[in-house]
Symmetry: C2
Subunit: 206 residues, 2 copies
DNA sequence: TTTTAATTGTGATTTTTTTCACTGTTTGTA
DNA sequence: TACAAACAGTGAAAAAAATCACAATTAAAA
């Protein structure tokens, strides 16, 4: 239906969305491309080009209507279609993500957690139960999870990922600092916090 | 001294680094550009171009020496110079980051945490003390922190960021889902977990 | 009412990034 | 030793992304 939007443009749109949410909280009704551009230190024509993908139009001398623009981004980025996910690895990060209530607003529905630690199994975190990893295969089928959020330690990541793939889950949001070696039809999104820090640290050198 | 490496290339190098770490753990001594490229689904000449920035040379018919290449990335990306950081916001995410021991290996040294919650103040997390945000200005000076890791709720993010800037900290790693409006000499790295999820979700649509 | 300034939208241009295509080298094999 | 295969390295070409530049529009000010 629509042209494909580049990854970079999508990334910027998520930042526009943050800005728009703030503007709504502040009861500001319009926003201009130079305003957005200035907050992000980018070119204003870039902002307009990105917005042109959304079939949303602005008004000269006024800018864009905040609510409309926000809705247009949400529609294009597709958070209207909720995705079900399970978290594998109930360590600090997994728990933090399970407790992150914002997810629901963005169409991410966390169904359950899995872990190997016997003391954690059976516990409820933010309404989500922690199951034994042994039950994973059986439950993954039942739960119809679209996506797995992988927050296990690096050493366990590859094997756990293979287990996820065996359970016919094709999308993995990988928080382990490792590159998974999986069939090409499985899509992996590497979060790589350490890598992101290194990128920032590299910028700091200037 | 060296040419500046693009952000995208740096991002890829952090993934190469992950792969190299895995190879070392597996006691594999050499790696070729097609091997790296295949794991990341990118072009092998891209990998070689990136590596050409590192002043590291490979061997025909053999590839690169894993240890050398890893060291070269570390040198270029500068994790040899450790950075001191403080975490502001001892919620789930802040705590998870404080407990993330890997940071030290990558040159990120977490000095302390700050929070408003009286029940948390004084607690020690992974050897790091949680202080009252009221003491922030005074302690920030003493601690000589290069960087602040911002993990407060969205509503508090902007004000907290201003406080950080007042304490003369110029680098903010922002985990709050909001775009901070700060002087242009302050560098902000937006982590934006929700945004990253949306990017992944957009890819899932295909 | 006229003018001014701010803003969108977009084609053209420039810059950056990626991919291609090829040369030269090295290692293992016949 | 000769040959084949697997690589690195790199200049050139192609593709993608960002920026520029400007016409058209409109709200507000004069």
């Amino acid at each position: 239906m629509n042209k494909k939007i580049s990854e970079k443009a999508v990334s910027r749109m998520t930042l526009y969305h943050c800005i728009l949410t703030d503007y709504i909280n502040k009861n500001i009704e319009t926003i201009s491309s130079p305003q957005i551009a200035s907050l992000l230190n980018i070119d204003d024509s870039q902002v307009r080009k990105d917005i042109s993908f959304l079939n949303n139009s602005g008004k000269c001398r006024v800018g864009y209507l905040v609510k409309e623009l926000k809705a247009a981004i949400e529609k294009t980025l597709g958070f209207t279609k909720p995705k079900n996910a399970i978290i594998i690895g109930a360590g600090n990060l997994g728990m933090a993500l399970a407790k992150y209530d914002n997810f629901t607003n963005y169409g991410l529905n966390v169904l359950a957690l899995f872990d190997t630690d016997a003391t954690k199994i059976g516990t409820i975190v933010n309404g989500k139960k922690i199951y034994s990893i042994k039950e994973f295969k059986k439950l993954a089928q039942q739960m119809k999870s679209d996506m797995a959020i992988l927050t296990v330690p690096r050493e366990a990541a590859q094997d756990t990922a293979l287990m996820i793939v065996n359970a016919k889950i094709k999308y993995i949001w990988n928080f382990s600092p490792t590159v998974l070696d999986l069939p090409k039809d499985v899509q992996v999104w590497n979060e790589n916090l350490m890598g992101n820090f290194l990128q920032f640290a590299y910028k700091m050198q200037d």
